[in-house]
Symmetry: C2
Subunit: 207 residues, 2 copies
DNA sequence: GGGCTTCCGATACAGTTGCATCGAAATAAC
DNA sequence: GTTATTTCGATGCAACTGTATCGGAAGCCC
């Protein structure tokens, strides 16, 4: 298999291994040897795909970011027990996106831990921070559009608030301070307040 | 100075060194040697104070948590340009506490980075998570009391929401996605909405 | 089937890590 | 002054880290 292997596919394979390890042992537990072993390749292959470890981590972060964003865009995998009615309103779309952003579903715990590990590292690593900002900007844009569609005022700021709240709730669930149910309740209460400001049927009381 | 040194004072000194390093290089950059050097003591002294590295980290996390909580309790150091009038309403007290919780002031950036580093590590380290939960519970209790005093409904859930939002905003400022001003604006908008629900003009009566 | 290129698996290597060990220094009791 | 006790600073050590190097295997072109 020499001469031009599918490098891109292998990179994704390695990125998945990075995520699995970051999920289990945090960011410190991600070593080249463990990554290679987890990915089922040798260390040499990893080194061929990524010149340095940091390059590998950057790629993995971007990988996770894209995956999460893509899933949010599609409104989740559909395992949320919804009835599949496609004709829901903008508010409901926003709610689904927010819940998805918060990675509150059980099977997303690993992703959430990976994300948190990356965020923490990004706080002291400018290259990672750059990747992260891009992902956050994409999320904010999307949420802002949804907020605007749902009739919320000041969509950008509300999107930033929503994203920060989702991230914070995710974190608190991860460390066991909140149960997923409590986090979901908090998020939904926030959303209800957000969309009720302009929505008919609610009290309009914005001063 | 043999025979019974002030171990507690030294522990705090070391904890401060841990925080300084975690601020600069993240959690991975905290090594026993660097901590000892930063604290101005030798490795032997560190090893005498803490049996293991993890014990040291636990202590440092608790140290930071207590300090942050104490400052929040006092409503900040007073550098917030306030006029020091003590007769403000509950809403204002809540606002000050929230801003303080979010560690948005410039000189708290270091503390914020330390906190984030600890949180990320706690996601994969049950002992650290236990310390963290305690701190979060204390914060939630305090915020819940303030929310109740400000006339908000469902104080516990609102406190949880507020804490998560503050944490998320802090994170997003740290990675450069939000400016401190934007984070502050988002937080204040949330607070305004929170207290406006029951208190349209001033302090509303608790239902 | 050669020759060349591309890739990989293993190993070498210097540096660092957390922890254990141990002699020396410094007080307190006598 | 002597001794006992506590603390410290230095060093040793095994394990592990990221990276560099290198021999060999596997495909293409002739």
């Amino acid at each position: 298999m020499p001469r031009q292997i599918d490098h891109e596919a292998r990179r994704h394979l390695i990125a998945d291994a990075v995520c699995a390890l970051a999920d289990e042992h945090g960011f410190e537990g991600v070593t080249l040897r463990d990554v290679a072993a987890r990915a089922g390749v040798s260390m040499g292959a990893v080194q061929r795909c990524f010149r340095t470890k940091e390059e590998m981590l950057r790629f993995a972060l971007d990988h996770v970011g894209r995956r999460v964003l893509a899933r949010i865009r599609t409104g989740g995998d559909g395992s949320d027990g919804g009835d599949g009615s496609g004709g829901d309103g903008a508010a409901e779309t926003l709610a689904r996106a927010a819940v998805e952003t918060a990675l509150l579903r059980g099977e997303q715990r690993a992703e959430a831990r990976v994300w948190l590990a990356f965020v923490a590292q990004a706080a002291v690593s400018p290259p990672l921070a750059a990747v992260l900002r891009e992902a956050y900007t994409g999320l904010t844009d999307m949420l802002a559009r949804l907020v605007a569609a749902a009739g919320g005022a000041d969509p950008v700021r509300e999107a930033q608030t929503l994203l920060a709240l989702a991230d914070g709730l995710t974190t608190h669930v991860l460390v066991g301070h909140l149960t997923p149910a409590a986090a979901r309740a908090a998020l939904e209460a926030h959303l209800a307040r957000l969309t009720a400001v302009r929505a008919p049927g609610g009290r309009g009381g914005l001063g």
